[in-house]
């Protein structure tokens, strides 16, 4: 019964996501199967959680589930009609087969780990708690929950993408189930791996490099086994996947000025603040990168409409929290110049805490050292707006997160840093891998003939709109 329920929940999630992807792509871009799966998952979770929240204002119980299911199935049918063209497959080389096998094993291990471990502390008491309470109340979070001081520890003000995806599983299962809820997190890992591989291939124009990067993601202990890892039920890894999607699409926009990637970027950007409160910072950074790209690529002013969905989500959620008198987190002091001035003495200890975190081999292995080398490689290419956007997308969130601790209200702010910095840094890890790809591939601009590789997944293929092969198909 549980398997059937999970099948229904995942099927509708993917159907909704695929439909949205097809609407955004409109047959004008070839996407690999991995990209289609990954984007379908991201858009599916985003759309279903938003629909549950919006429809929850006027429906609950079976009606709510039915309404959302109808929309999901309709989107799935639209997707089927508008079928996104797939890339033409070529015969893989032996090392690509080996790397694919390694990635498959890694994904299986992450699924295994998610079943072995319980939900992490925040996974249960910040995220799953909302799904459980909403399920017990017919699919709608009780208004009293937001102002319940006894449950303020569960951060009622946090957005609902993750808890309402769990809620969707519960509605299909017919019970709240902490074990089954965990299935969504390795699926985010799968989506992240697929997207990293796909973007790395597009950036480097080398399939093996994309596969290698996806395989190496597993070897960052913070993502695999550390507290707050991808399988722990926290929102940080899913947020990192949305951020990777936004940053990767933006890079592809710069490369080829393709509008499809810009639409995909806009969709992923909009969902960032819906996944986690920190997503607002990532939204600001990704939007700033978007503005940079719009200006450099001389895109029409209408392109700035890409920021509208995100702004609508941010404002709607804020209004909702105000209307429900939601309790605000007490982790930070008021953000004003006075607090900033009086707490500026924290800057150096914070910086040394960050450096210590980068050096923590059990948590990060050599990842940050590798990123530092990649950053040095990127310095001579800073005239390329795509590289600038990636570097900003990697560094700006780290700087902003560190600055936030200046406003920490914890008695010992370094405890606050120690507890959360690794999870915050995890949000930019996949983007760090993209920077590594750029450095490793060190694309030879002097030898354009080496770049011409037909039948490969590259940003260049996107430019061609409908290629002859697709027309033929």
């Amino acid at each position: 019964m549980n398997a059937l329920g999970l099948f229904g929940a995942f099927g509708t999630l993917f159907a909704a996501g695929y439909g949205l992807l097809a609407l955004l792509v409109r047959r004008s871009l070839q996407l690999s199967l991995a990209e289609q799966i990954a984007f379908s998952w991201l858009f599916g979770t985003g759309a279903v959680s938003l629909l549950l929240w919006v429809f929850g204002f006027f429906a609950n119980g079976l009606l709510l589930q039915g309404l959302v299911s109808v929309v999901c199935i309709s989107l799935g049918m639209v997707g089927w009609k508008l079928k996104t063209p797939s890339q033409i497959r070529r015969k893989p080389r032996w090392f690509e087969v080996v790397l694919t096998a390694v990635i498959t094993i890694e994904i299986a291990i992450v699924f295994y780990l998610s079943f072995v471990h319980t939900l992490g502390w925040d996974g249960l008491l910040n995220w799953e708690i909302k799904a459980r309470y909403a399920f017990a109340n017919g699919g709608v979070l009780p208004a009293a929950y937001f102002s319940d001081s006894g449950r303020a520890f569960s951060h009622p003000e946090y957005p609902l993408a993750i808890p309402f995806t769990e809620l969707w599983l519960y509605l299909w299962l017919g019970e709240s189930n902490q074990f089954c809820a965990k299935t969504i997190f390795p699926t985010f890992y799968l989506a992240g791996t697929f997207l990293l591989a796909a973007f790395a291939v597009r950036l480097s124009r080398r399939t093996w490099l994309g596969l290698l990067m996806a395989a190496l993601l597993f070897f960052v202990p913070q993502i695999t086994v550390e507290a707050g890892c991808a399988s722990a039920g926290y929102a940080d890894f899913p947020l990192s996947v949305f951020y990777l999607a936004a940053a990767g699409c933006l890079y592809c926009v710069v490369e080829q000025g393709n509008d499809v990637f810009f639409r995909l970027y806009a969709a992923c950007l909009a969902l960032l603040p819906w996944v986690k409160r920190d997503g607002l910072i990532l939204w600001i950074v990704a939007a700033a990168c978007g503005v940079l790209v719009i200006l450099r690529a001389r895109k029409p002013p209408l392109s700035s409409l890409a920021f509208l969905p995100g702004i609508v989500i941010i404002c709607a959620w804020r209004l909702y929290l105000n209307a429900t008198h939601a309790l605000q987190a007490a982790d930070f002091l008021p953000f004003n110049p006075e607090t900033f001035r009086t707490h500026l003495n924290r800057a150096l200890p914070l910086l040394s805490a960050l450096v210590a975190e980068f050096y923590s081999l059990p948590t990060w292995s050599l990842f940050w050292f590798t990123v530092a080398v990649a950053f040095l490689y990127s310095l001579p290419r800073m005239r390329d707006p795509g590289v600038v956007a990636l570097v900003v997308a990697l560094i700006a969130p780290i700087v902003l997160y560190l600055s936030l601790y200046l406003f920490s209200s914890w008695p010992n702010y370094l405890d606050h840093v120690g507890l959360s910095i690794s999870r915050l840094l995890m949000q930019v890890v996949p983007v760090g891998f993209l920077l590594i790809v750029l450095a490793v591939s060190r694309r030879p601009e002097k030898h354009p003939q080496q770049v011409e590789m037909p039948n490969r997944a590259t940003c260049a293929m996107a430019r061609s709109e409908r290629t002859a092969v697709v027309e033929l198909a």
Partner: protein, 161 residues
């Protein structure tokens, strides 16, 4: 040929191969120990809270019993949960209990010592449905409640007839 295998290219290749191998080599022991730390256990609907409660109190499958106990209580009044300030186990236990007590309203009271006599004396017993002690000692004047392993006791406050 020269441009394809220049010194720079070889150095570039060696650098990145070295970094990749080092990354994997440093990570493997940590990931191996993390992956083999716990055996695969059968999962239930209350898989995580059961594990937390077992860790904190030593009692197996306590979540279901806690839920049924809270369900048997009238919904109109809140449950007061006492936790010990500075004791992570106590606050963890308190929050897990608050999680399971839904849809009852709850009040988490953090106290400094281990005897919440003073705080309890300020509470009007007609206005609460139960009092929960998380790694705290129940005052002697309060009737004993249901004990879950070591550290969790729930005293149901009966309504006066």
């Amino acid at each position: 040929m020269t441009s394809r295998w220049s010194y720079g290219r070889i150095a570039h290749l060696l650098l990145w191969c070295g970094l990749a191998v080092a990354l994997v080599t440093v990570s493997i022991p940590k990931i191996y120990s993390g992956a083999t730390e716990y055996p695969l256990r059968p999962g239930g609907a209350l898989h995580t809270t059961d594990s937390y409660l077992k860790f904190a109190t030593g009692t197996e499958g306590a979540s279901k019993n806690l839920i049924s106990m809270f369900e048997s209580m009238p919904m109109s009044k809140p449950i007061v949960i006492f936790i010990h300030k500075g004791d992570a186990f106590s606050s963890g236990l308190g929050m897990t209990t608050a999680y399971l007590a839904s849809p009852h309203p709850v009040r988490l009271c953090e106290i400094d010592g281990t005897h919440p006599d003073n705080e309890l004396s300020l509470i009007n017993p007609d206005k609460v449905v139960a009092v929960v002690f998380c790694r705290l000692t129940r005052p002697a004047w309060l009737p004993p409640g249901k004990v879950f392993g070591s550290g969790l006791e729930i005293v149901s406050i009966r309504e006066k007839r």
